[in-house]
Amino acid sequence: MRHSLIITAALFATGAQAEVPRDFLARFEKEAGTAASAERGARFFTAKQGGEWSCASCHTERPTLAGRHARTDKAIAPLAPAANAERFTDAAKVDKWFRRNCNDTLNRLCSAQEKADVMAWLLSLK
């Protein structure tokens, strides 16, 4: 009994940091209830949505490249998983940055569909 508890706990502990980028595409598609579109994601990412900034203002229109913070000029490592293996491997970070950056660019949270589309586009970049 005790052993199975320890094993279960260990599985949960490792599971918490075992995400890969495709997991987020699957999660957001499931939440949205529809398939993602990389093409729609590209448009969403590069166009301003009513605010002062688009996603590309900091992450560039080609997120396989490094970006710069639009206000502080601080270097930002590439966002696309193909160029940066650390991206989209930690659910807490993914949720934190979508929350903050959607608020900054849209003045609201992003829908699951918008997040799925962006994931699909980022995953398509080589």
Binding site: R71, T72, K74, K96, R99, R100, N103
Partner: protein
Amino acid sequence: MKKLIALPALLAVLALPAHADNYSVPKHAAFQEECTSCHMAYPPQMLDADSWRAVMNGLSKHFGSDASIDQKRRAAIADFLVAHAGGRKTGGTRDANGKPLLRISETARFEKKHREIAAATWQRASIKSPANCTACHAQAAAGDYNERSIRIPK
């Protein structure tokens, strides 16, 4: 004899530059990770405790950006900043209404130290704003804001 020993010691103290403050940032993992993802690590010593509390209580509108973080880390970073906050040395740290200033660049000490810098200089593309310490203080990240290390870019 006593006087002979005291004199060199006194001279040594007088020779120390008055502006040789140490602004190196104490180690703190959550502070480093959360705060430096968007900007350089501003030294906790540059604001007083009330200002840091106000900054950390307003992260969802942090100078125009949503910088909100989870409650546990927010409290830990606030404690760290308050513990290392500057005292009197930061100069005036309240605005005209008595509210704590949020920007280091608005404190009396900062303004006094930068009084020779023209408004147009701050706006150069190579500098951008008073928040960009490293533009002129190349060693700022190491806590060195000494006059001898300053190079103002064109």
